[in-house]
Amino acid sequence: MTGTLDIELDGGQTECRPGEDLTGTVRWLFDDRPDKVELRLFWYTRGKGDEDTGLAENLTFESPAPSETRTFRFALPNGPYSFSGRLISLIWAVEAVAEPGDHVARVEFTLSPTGREVMLGNRSA
């Protein structure tokens, strides 16, 4: 199965706050009917440590047609916040996966009370 898969967040929303709704659109255009299209709200870590991931929510689009546009809405959880330190960064993302063929599209955003990534500088009080 060949084709394209794309995700778009409404209004180009990238700075999100806990408790808000995250809405957007998934589009795909394949030469054949996919078995399954899944949308995952999740976080993952980057940095010195081995990668960790956590799944917050999972949506499965039933009976997908070869070409479709679907909207989605996720209620964002309270955490973990997006942050960056000297060793670890935590990134939130929405990822669409179509099977067969492992077609993947991903869009990243930040989640925190200010909507911006929490920066961990070395500081003493």
């Binding site: 408790g19 995952r40 993952y44 991931t53 959880p77 955490g79 060793l87 993947v104 869009v107 961990l120």
Partner: protein, 581 residues
């Protein structure tokens, strides 16, 4: 906004990487395929015998044979059978000849085919001159499933590398989905561990014990040693030894032979001890062996328990780890399911309840209400036991080499290369002994008791912190209580695992040199609002903690760390704190 789609590119997807991957997968598929073909050919040969005709035959002669210059045994049989009007003589036991390391293995086969007995043999219908007494099982072909797995891995890997329209953006969330299904996998992994342990424990320990108990009723029969020696078994891991004593005995006028010394199987290191046993049997007079009254072809020289049998208990470690792991994984999954109001990335502080006081935040995020007494995750006894175990393992292994080096000096032939090599390891060994003494002395240090308003504190929140020091407070020069936040990242490089730490926040809450103020007191614990809350994943953590330090002159200092849980700010309206991963 960072966006990734199937049309993106990835640095891990170079042509070079695909070629290297292809070579690895080709090797997998090639070696697996070769072994699969060999096994399937053998299985087909065996299957062919099931089309041969079963024909009555008479055993003319049977004995255990040994080829000249070989220390292996094989069954020698001769039988006659009739096809049509013609009588044939057969000498094949199986289609492909088999050799046995132990006399008793070949003897057990011969015992089933005594001369003069009527048996059934299998004759090639097209060439009746070919016949066998025993058809080997074609189910042997199922063994091919194992190398076939390698073929499938190799073929699947090649397909994944070179399939048309292959996506170049890899899914990150697949790992999160797999993790959410990890309990069954974890249980399966530990179940395999336990099964493998049982697989070895049964033949190496349980069966020998059952046989020893069963042989206690076997009558003693006079026997004669025919030959005795220590058999060597060499492979790439070195040489091991086993006792090889062939003896004969008589029951009801019939002479039998056996080479079973005891009910243990396999071989082990240590030639001298086995040679002493063989020599003792060769010198012994009025020797007896113990014979199975139900099957006189079975006998044993030594039907007692021995210390070496304890080696057979080693697989029990795998059983314990496997069963323990299954219980642990299942319990962890149950605990996770019970924590309905708390996200699994938010660690729980190690606490014990002080007194029940309702707390609005706790009601919002779940968990026990405060105030609570904090407990150090690694207590002083835990630290002491940890260093003792490490020192014992390190110095235990080191002592094997040190003894060799010392013996060299005692013999007047010092091994300087080995000695110099061991010096840094011996120094580390001394440090571990010092660490044990240090932790032992630290057991007698004054102890701190920290009580906080609640077990979980939100970002930007503040709670009262009470401290109380038990023991000889006057020995402490300076007492400090520090709040700190740090990142911890664990990663693998090769076969080693490393943990890097970085403290991103530090605040001294208490610092005093006055003994009267050290004994007890209260302060306020304020968590900054613009930082990161506690976070725990498999490899990455954000840890908030309170550290109590007390400098003591000429004695190990007090240094106890107490983790606290800093939670995200509660959502308006008391909404729960997030989803499970």
């Amino acid at each position: 906004m960072r966006r990734h789609s199937a049309s993106g590119s990835s640095s891990t997807d170079t042509l070079g990487g695909r070629l290297v991957g292809s070579i690895v997968f080709l090797m997998f598929a090639g070696i697996g395929g070769f072994i699969t073909v060999m096994i399937v050919r053998e299985a087909l040969d065996r299957l062919r015998l099931y089309a041969w005709n079963a024909v009555p035959c008479r055993i003319v002669h049977s004995e255990v044979g040994q080829e000249e210059g070989s220390d292996r045994y094989h069954p020698v049989v001769e039988y006659t059978y009739q096809v049509g009007q013609r009588t044939y003589t057969g000498t094949r036991y199986t289609l492909t000849p088999r050799r046995y390391e132990r006399y008793s293995e070949a003897a057990a086969i011969i015992a089933r085919f005594p001369p003069g007995s009527e048996q059934r043999c299998y004759v090639d219908p097209e060439q009746p001159v070919y016949a066998v007494l025993k058809r080997q099982s074609p189910w042997f072909g199922l063994v091919a499933l194992f190398p076939l797995l390698f073929v499938l891995i190799g073929a699947g890997g090649l397909y994944a590398l070179w399939r048309p329209g292959r996506r170049t953006v890899q899914s990150v969330s697949n790992a999160a989905v797999r993790k959410s299904k990890g309990t069954a996998l974890g249980v399966g992994f530990f179940a395999l561990f336990a099964l493998a342990g049982f697989g070895f424990l049964i033949p190496l320990f349980i069966l020998p014990v059952i046989r020893i108990i069963g042989a206690q009723d076997w009558p003693a029969v006079a026997c004669t040693i025919l030959h005795g020696k220590v058999r060597s078994h060499s492979d790439s891991d070195g040489t091991t030894y086993s006792i090889d004593i062939l003896y004969e005995y008589e029951v009801d006028g019939h002479t039998y032979k056996s080479d079973r010394y005891n009910f243990m199987t396999g071989s082990s290191s240590g030639r001298r001890g086995k040679q002493d046993i063989v020599n003792a049997y060769l010198r012994a007079e009025n020797l007896v062996c113990y014979v199975n009254p139900k099957d006189p072809s079975q006998a044993v020289l030594n039907r007692g328990f021995s210390l070496t049998m304890l080696f057979g208990l080693i697989p029990a470690v795998f059983v314990v780890v496997g069963v323990g792991g299954m219980i642990g994984v299942t319990r962890a999954a149950r605990r996770k399911a019970r924590r309905l109001t708390q996200a699994d990335w938010l660690p729980e502080a190690t606490t014990q309840s002080a007194q029940g006081v309702d707390n609005e935040y706790r009601l919002a995020v779940g968990g026990p209400a405060g105030p609570v007494v904090l407990k150090a995750p690694y207590g002083r006894w835990g630290k002491l036991i940890g260093v003792i175990v490490f020192a014992a393992i390190w110095n235990g292994i080191l002592s094997v080499f040190l003894i060799n080096a010392v013996r060299g000096f005692q013999r007047g032939r010092p091994e300087w290369g080995l000695t110099l090599f061991l010096v840094p390891f011996a120094l580390v060994g001394l440090v571990t002994v010092g660490a044990v003494l240090y932790q032992l002395l630290a057991l007698f240090n004054p102890r701190a008791k920290l009580t906080v308003g609640t077990a979980t504190i939100p970002l930007g929140g503040s709670v009262p912190l009470d401290w109380e020091i038990f023991g000889r407070v006057e020995r402490i020069g300076t007492l400090t209580i520090t709040l700190s936040g740090r990142e911890e990242a664990r990663y693998r490089r090769g076969t080693k695992t490393y943990t890097d730490k970085n403290t991103f926040y530090e605040e001294t809450l208490v610092s005093t040199t006055d003994s009267s103020q050290m004994a007890y007191g209260q302060t306020t614990l304020r968590i900054p609002g613009d930082t990161m809350h506690s976070f725990r994943a498999d490899h990455n953590k954000i840890i908030w903690s309170l550290t109590v330090r007390g400098d003591i002159a000429r004695w190990p200092d007090v240094k106890d760390e107490y983790e606290i849980t800093v939670a995200p700010r509660p959502l308006e309206g008391g909404r729960s704190s997030g989803h499970r991963s």
